[in-house]
Subunit: 588 residues, 2 copies
């Protein structure tokens, strides 16, 4: 057994290695670890427990733990550690790791492993964990087995610091350290945290990527020359970027397409440049055709709106400029003309400074402003004319009821599309988050629960299938007691399929059983089963009151809105028809 030269008691190798690694993670800014029960990971878990900087969350199901860590890292903008034992435990992280990779969320995955002599010889709870997450992590490293060489703790510290740095790097994302360990797994005597002054760990000083001056000059010149431009903000979560982006839009006289998860839809920067209803506006074939853009400035991930992408593909503007400090190529339509590698705020500020006073008057901007107003009024009219509580009304009621400084986590499939279409832009502050990397319906409850663990009360808006897909997350929510409101638009199955061509085949093709997949579960009973407060909102007023009540709690609760699927589909169609009429009546 190797003694650590600096600790007071001779420590077993695995616990000493784990303590050094975990200490370095703490010093590198990791503050939260999500662990799942297991034996091989004992040294890591005990080291986390002894590390004063670290808060530990325990989740039984590693898949749920993975999404919890994803939501927490997303909300806190800090790397979160994930710790599990050897075997299929680690395999359960894959869905969250894939999402973290595509959506650029820093995770430090620490998988305990059996030592090499156990691997591929049929030993229990031993799988091939090397490169388990393939190309879906930014970095993989297999640590040596602790012991056998003096002072391997130097490496352990460097591994911890490097893992945190790469996870928070450019682009941020998941990293995977595989940690083989031999017994003894428990420390000899009480494990004390590594003293701060012990030795410096590698600290990374990240810079700000300033735009190339030529790019700024070129772009400013183009903006000045092209009144028919638009800033398309896709899902992103850059702190303090909304103001500079809005200022650039004002200077350019351009509208902003504000994706729900762009942080541009809500906040004090919002003015008439902001399109909250861009999806419905560009979804009108007439408006889209009569307003082809010359220049698109794309910030963040690709916007959720299919209408936006269709508009772009049909118009084929000569300039589609992507700004991405992390060197990505997020261009599904293969239409980008220019990639500006720059911090978003720096670029917006620099271009704005080179532009003159705001472009007024601008017929182009006026058309979008009038269009946005016409759509907003139409939506309000159509939705208000029908007293039923369907998805559009539920989204609007939620938007009205949402207190400031709260996170709204939006699930994929119909939920994010409904928010895109029906949540008006507002000057009220709200942070809207979504898993728009792989757009899966998995792990939604766990993600939102993780976000609420960041200290900001969180509201999840989800459909019933995503809710049931993550029933483990529901169970975790009932155990974790965090301030989370789960709003479920329950149409008993996948309503999205009714919008797809397969719906036209009708039921002989098994449409209902194979695609819509109604489950017939009673969510009230399900909530009772896991011990979660539940209320079924029957009207808008009832929903508003239920939300208010839920927001006042410090524990999770679920607000269910039963949505009649056919009626809901019909209202979506009615809104689009009414939008077309309204736009044509104002000559747009």
């Amino acid at each position: 057994m190797e003694a650590s030269p600096r600790s007071s008691v001779a420590q077993a190798p695995a616990p000493a290695f784990a303590a050094a690694l975990v200490g370095a993670l703490g010093r590198a800014g990791v503050r939260e670890a999500c662990v799942s029960p297991g034996s091989r990971s004992t040294p890591l878990v005990l080291a986390l427990e002894a590390e004063p900087r670290m808060a530990i969350r325990v989740h039984l199901d590693e898949r749920s733990a993975g999404f919890f860590a994803l939501g927490l890292a997303r909300a806190s903008r800090r790397p979160v550690a994930l710790v599990c034992t050897s075997g299929t435990a680690a395999a359960n992280y894959l869905p969250a790791v894939v999402e973290a990779s595509l959506t650029r969320i820093p995770l430090v995955v620490l998988t305990a492993d059996r030592p090499p002599e156990a691997r591929d010889w049929g030993a229990p709870q031993t799988i091939d964990q090397l490169h388990l997450f393939g190309r879906h992590v930014r970095w993989f490293a297999e640590a040596p087995v602790p012991g056998g060489r003096p002072d391997l703790e130097r490496l352990a510290r460097a591994l911890g610091a490097r893992a945190a740095a790469v996870a928070a790097g450019s682009p941020p994302g998941p990293v995977h350290l595989n940690l083989p360990m031999r017994e003894p797994l428990v420390p000899s005597g009480r494990l004390s945290p590594e003293p701060e002054a012990l030795r410096p760990v590698m600290r990374e000083w990240r810079g700000t990527l300033r735009p190339a001056p030529e790019a700024v000059a070129w772009l400013a010149e183009r903006v000045a020359r092209h009144p028919r431009g638009l800033i398309a903000c896709g899902p992103m979560d850059e702190p303090d970027a909304a103001g500079p982006i809005a200022a650039l839009a004002r200077a350019a006289g351009w509208p902003i397409l504000a994706d729900p998860a762009s942080q541009l839809r809500c906040g004090p920067h919002v003015d008439h440049h902001t399109l909250g209803h861009g999806d419905l506006l560009l979804g009108d074939a007439g408006f889209a055709e009569r307003h082809p853009p010359d220049l698109i400035l794309r910030l963040g991930a690709p916007p959720t709106s299919k209408a936006f992408h269709g508009w772009l593909e049909r118009a084929e503007p000569s300039h589609v400029v992507h700004v991405d400090p992390h060197g990505g190529f997020r261009d599904p339509a293969h239409g980008a003309s220019d990639l500006v590698r720059s911090d978003i705020v720096s670029l917006c500020d620099a271009v704005r400074r080179r532009l003159g006073p705001p472009r007024t008057p601008s017929a182009w901007l006026d058309a979008f402003v009038a269009g946005e107003r016409a759509v907003a009024e139409t939506v309000a009219d159509v939705v208000d004319a029908d007293p039923s509580l369907l998805a559009p009304a539920a989204v609007r009621t939620l938007g009205d009821a949402l207190p400031e400084a709260r996170i709204l986590y939006v699930s994929n499939s119909m939920a994010i599309r409904d928010v895109d279409a029906f949540l008006p832009a507002t000057r009220s502050r709200c942070r809207i988050l979504a898993n728009r990397g792989a757009n899966g319906i998995d792990g939604m409850v766990s993600s939102a629960l993780g976000a609420s663990a960041s200290g900001t009360p969180t509201v999840l808006l989800t459909g019933d299938l995503a809710l049931l897909h993550d029933s483990s997350g529901l169970l975790a929510a009932s155990i974790e007691r965090l301030p989370l409101t789960i709003v479920v638009l329950n149409d008993d199955g996948g309503g999205i399929f009714s919008h797809l061509p397969v719906a036209r085949l009708g039921d002989p093709a098994g449409f209902t059983r194979l695609f819509r997949t109604p489950h017939g579960r009673d969510l009230g009973r399900l909530c009772q089963g896991v011990g979660l407060a539940h209320v079924r909102a029957e009207s808008r007023e009832h929903l508003a009151a239920a939300l208010k009540d839920s927001f006042s709690r410090s524990t999770p609760s679920l607000v269910e809105v039963v949505v009649e699927a056919e009626h809901n589909l019909e209202q979506h169609r009615r809104v689009r028809r009414a939008v077309t009429r309204a736009l044509s009546s104002v000559g747009l």
Copy 2:
């Protein structure tokens, strides 16, 4: 759009390709597909629906679907297809794929994918699915995008046939076909199944691996020369192998260590050679030391019993012979002396034929027979002396109550260990299955549900953590309405940790919160929540009655046994102490 020359209507390329692929799977013997809702997979799902040989099961959660398919393939001994859409859906299969690989279960994983032009350009629901399961599949292939070349259906048929053949091959395991598809995803007109006579698909004729004659001669000679031998049967599920193995044991005068999942513990072949309590017997240090083996014949995966492995490692017999037709190296102790590549039945028959009449008398065999009897009586005495319903009594009651021709699926962690220690060998027929590849606690309910879908009513014995880890499986069980009895030994957390060194650290190190992880969930309420029948058995008689009632149902129900953790731990220790006393009192 390419027309298939032989179909009456011109068919869109993706549906035509999917129909050819699925038709070949059907002709290659795949009879069940488990699909999860999604859009990109539409051609596959509609082709499955049109294929008359194929039954479709729908499961929302791909992780649960993966384990369901695993359990169904295990029970039916036939490859099962898994079908999902693009994105993280596929990533959710990884845990079941890893288990299937290590435990040699044939799965054909069909993941729909976006076409190459969408990949790595930020397109929605698009992840890198190439080699998604890494080295955990036997074969991976990426199909071309349907269309673009006439008669790609030839390839589709060959891919389907080959996938089924490799999955059922040597060793059996999971295969992964990644299937990129462009729109239209729905067929033009009604999809009709491919006529049987259309063209032959590649059919694989698998042989039986006969042992090398030299190996048979050598082994028979060694068996004859070594009275101190043992046949160790680990987890395996060879049809009709129990009889030949038992006959060899009789001829050799050797005991059989019968792992719970070896198919040797229960059945008409059982006689005094069969050790049902081998784990307790070899767990006695005195007996183990006084009975070192000369020759071990190991069949199947490594046995569950830690005591067996410890006995072997201490004795270091000169011959440890592994028999494996699939060329594996399942030797965690690195002690194998000979690897016989042969079908198990063929080898046992051939060696037996070369041996003379049964070796009698044999002091060696007599010691094991007397030991087994002493342990069995001791277990009965200790357990019967305590009226509490703890794990040992529950296992014995379940063993007594189990009707013939039923599958007992045993979960990992304590459940399989308790069955190993406490389920007596019996001449009654029972098929005991377990996920002893990676030994994870994930997917247990789904696995057992899948087994019950094979047409054989199934009983799952599990702890509470494994149950809650697979809450998605519980939900699936409540929807699927299959004959499944879930017996839960509920000690509110991970009882196994109390057996490990970390328990001795006590609660200052967070033992309860970080390792035992009590959850405090009320399983009765949980069952009510998902709509599953539940009964809490308070005594052995009550448990027997509850099991009988559950066995008479055609739908799932859960029987809960609340196990007092400390008392349970103490009884486990008391049994081991009593076994030591009993063995020493009979001079063993």
